[in-house]
Symmetry: C2
Subunit: 232 residues, 2 copies
Amino acid sequence: MQGFIHNDTVFKESILMRAIVPFKRERAKSRLSPVLSGEERSGFAHAMLRDVLCALSGSGIRIDILTTSVSGAMQVNAKNVVVCELGLNDALNQYLDSMVAHSEIEPVIILMADLPLATEEHISEICSRDSDVVIVPGKRGGTNVLFLKDPSRFRVDYYGTSFLDHMRIAKDAGMSIEVFDSYMLSTDIDEPGDLIEVLIHGKGEAAGYLRNLGFEVCADNDRVELRRRGNG
Amino acid sequence: MQGFIHNDTVFKESILMRAIVPFKRERAKSRLSPVLSGEERSGFAHAMLRDVLCALSGSGIRIDILTTSVSGAMQVNAKNVVVCELGLNDALNQYLDSMVAHSEIEPVIILMADLPLATEEHISEICSRDSDVVIVPGKRGGTNVLFLKDPSRFRVDYYGTSFLDHMRIAKDAGMSIEVFDSYMLSTDIDEPGDLIEVLIHGKGEAAGYLRNLGFEVCADNDRVELRRRGNG
């Protein structure tokens, strides 16, 4: 795949579709800096990534982690790690182009790496839909999951109101679209308040990571707040 | 029903279940005051209520609006309006008690009135679940929809982390529980940023109300913001 470096194990099972998980390693989750140190943010980002990989692993499909740097250890079990130093949109579109160039046109599911409430059932339900494109909206017009039956007909356009942009791109290409309505998948973790959702609904590594750091949810009257034990 | 005043039409259709929609009229949606005037907040709250009633109306079930005051016109078509000056939990539990006292034990769905993204399909799906209790979580541990197959066995406990409280109440009562995973139903509208969700995903009266006031969603680079035309 031109412009990419592959490392780790390349899975050899018969591939009917594949998953791409973009994962930002540098300055990962910087908006969590009011409550997590740099090392903790990195640890937490990897824990969330492992939750996402766990949700995907049940499907038996090939999983490619798309990341921007080879430096530092990836704290995940052997997966295909694809390194591309482009921005998110260019990296993903180059990835999709290279699939087409290699005549590897198969359905693709693109999941963000900060969706620790994702489950196997979500993935299975999304991938079994009939529509050409399935979109899981995130907060404020974001796109958290994108399923493309034929990636050769689609260009991604993340950032801003990407949900609306992706709906329009699919419509312009004459592709059928379905919005997948899930609170758990809409919950991407960016800000300290989002950690409350992980603690309340999470059952995976990210929730365990936060609990081990002493985080808990406190409800005083109508205020629900994040608190860290032993941290003032 | 002791302690309650009924007005408007009492529906006579055969009742297999009923819906309760608590609706706060005084100081409704006060956290939207940075972007909406008092009159606009009231108008918007009624528009959201009408969206919720529209989602419920397809099911053909009896709908009771539970509200705290008889003053001021209710800007909705004739429905059962139940007035109770107690707080939310006491009012709902008194309502459930009075059902039991009148041997009117039938399934109940309690929907908050600030869920303008609710649809008929949501209601139909929730009410067709097999579990004794179906809970739709809101943000930060809230409960946005509660379906009780047998309301005589359940006491509501809203505010704080009511999602966790309701899960525990159902478990303690030996009732089977299901979490209904929906972004659209998790989106209760409290703060200015929430209006973005209404504008992006809404198809009902609340979205129309905001658009008529000149609200729109603007995406500048990665920032997605609410803007009001002609308002500086």
